[in-house]
Symmetry: C2
């Protein structure tokens, strides 16, 4: 709320009102619209691409209906360290529930999560996380789940910065979403996490409607009582939009290949390759975590957000590598 309010005021204080026609043809005012992107070659390259595809007189023009951008969430739109934020929600929720479930303390995985022991979590890998997702995200109505997420995201603080988790979104990427929208892109978040973990607050903070937030999802069942109807979250994971399933999710939810993709890990390679197979001009951008002071520096050796193969492939595939330390001004709005 705070971030979006501040950004909203910023946008309207600085940018003159524009007609649709102007948006399409005027050159970007860099200081205004992407003010937390430093004037580097990477910034120039990304802007050039976006200008080109949205300029009707350019040979690289792409019609509005096909001007689709996809953006990974964890590590691309917000921080993912010390561990995925949805995992932190799981830890907090399990600690709240454990008095009713003393048996969790006798289970190696669950006790490991309760003690925030990342070695145990890594040992059980993705399957262990899915077990914890079911324990904390299901057996309730959609409304109840939204309420839990909203309370958590408003109140819980990040251990390094002390900011609320929802304030851990990257300001330059919020500016990028706004800039893309001004160029009539349809912008979609494609996350490996649960779509329902983002949607309750994304409209305000990411400035995107729920149908443009795509992610993993559980089985839902529609139930009726004599007084009411509701959707119930069942303990069964239906679809996980991990690496090779990101193109699947994009096809199923968007129904078109993107021309622009932002990601930050090897997990985004299939999405990049899928975007790159578009017959329209296209671009793929890697956000590289290089700032150990203001955020975190990690890559090839990291369990969370491993970036190894993608960096190696980048030169041959023309992937842009954004260096967070050099290319970005403020990382978080509250910095």
């Amino acid at each position: 709320m705070l971030i979006s309010t501040i950004l909203f005021i910023f946008l309207f204080a600085c940018a003159p009102p524009k007609s649709n026609t102007e948006v399409n043809t005027s050159p970007i005012k860099e200081q205004e619209e992407l003010s937390n992107w430093n004037a580097t070659d990477n910034k120039k390259e990304i802007i050039n691409f976006i200008e080109k595809v949205s300029n009707p007189s350019s040979s690289q023009f792409v019609p509005v209906k096909d001007r689709i951008a996809v953006i990974d969430m964890d590590g691309t739109l917000w921080c993912e360290k010390p561990f995925y934020f949805q995992y932190q929600f799981i830890v907090d929720r399990m600690r709240y529930l454990v008095p009713q479930h003393p048996e969790w303390k006798k289970d190696e995985l669950l006790n490991g999560i309760l003690n925030n022991n990342l070695d145990i979590v890594r040992k059980y890998g993705w399957e262990g996380l899915m077990e914890a997702v079911v324990l904390t995200h299901t057996g309730m109505t959609v409304e109840k789940h939204e309420e839990l997420i909203l309370n958590w995201i408003e109140e819980t603080k990040h251990p390094k910065t002390g900011y609320a988790y929802k304030e851990m979104v990257y300001l330059p990427m919020i500016e990028m979403i706004r800039y893309l929208k001004s160029k009539q892109f349809s912008v979609f978040v494609v996350t490996e996490g649960g779509a329902s973990f983002l949607r309750p607050w994304a409209e305000k903070v990411l400035e995107l409607p729920n149908n443009q937030i795509i992610g993993s999802h559980l089985k839902l069942v529609y139930k009726e009582t004599s007084k009411d109807t509701f959707l119930f979250r069942e303990p069964e994971i239906l679809f996980v939009s991990d690496g090779p399933n990101k193109p699947v999710a994009i096809h199923r939810f968007i129904g078109k290949k993107p021309i622009l993709a932002f990601g930050n890990s090897d997990n985004d390679i299939p999405m990049f390759d899928y975007c790159r197979s578009n017959e329209y001009p296209n671009m793929q951008v890697i956000i590289h975590h290089t700032d150990s002071v203001r955020e975190y520096a990690y890559g090839a050796q990291s369990f969370v957000g491993q970036l190894n193969i993608a960096l190696r492939l980048a030169p041959e595939k023309d992937w842009v590598i954004v260096d967070m330390q050099k290319d970005w001004g403020k990382i978080f709005d509250r910095d």
Copy 2:
């Protein structure tokens, strides 16, 4: 293409250009914008609702971000007789493929479909149809499937009217979509059929982007070769957006409750109830097939598009019942 071209010309020939502000506040020009809706009480009631929720000075105002409309496809946006059009695609595809599958002729269900024997199809019900969907819609890339659908929808003629199937969309409903869009509604089609059966041509004919076409879907797998990447349609049905799954699909793909729903059968009751549970002002509209001359007259006794319980519930739930014969001018653009 023909329909959309004609409608496009019609719109721009008749309607003066409008700014967003005007769209929100000016009273609807009925003759222009919904010219194939006769001046009946039903038309007045639907327009009043749409005007009210989109008028910022009305007590019933609904913000743009929550102004969501959902529309069923078969029997609501296009004809569904003598049988669902996707079924006709299946029959045609199976007849094309049967030389390579002589064993199909020895199977009661498959031979029944090959002979377009609806009694056999009814006997096997939904499960039989799903078997036929797998035989005709899977084991190919997404692109190959799109090509099959596009060729079929362009070329195949409806047995009663002789129009191409894509010309069997209801002109008044296309006008309704356009009118809703002018009132800044987000309009979604929610069909029990395959989303992939509509998307290849919906952008032109329904004037909606692919991500606003929601329906049943199959398992997809992302594959890579040394040269290319592609999505392959696997022989497994993942999700069927039938009656009680329509609210599930709406939550998963849209992430918000609609304020307006159009349907035509008992299958749409859960979607209507879900829409009706919205805290915002809301409306549900039944399209009743009453015109045996220009289209078909059917309802309580029909296997396809059975409308029985919903008609009975309509008065107590305030559902509007559109009488196609009385309320609509032209039904099809080519009439």
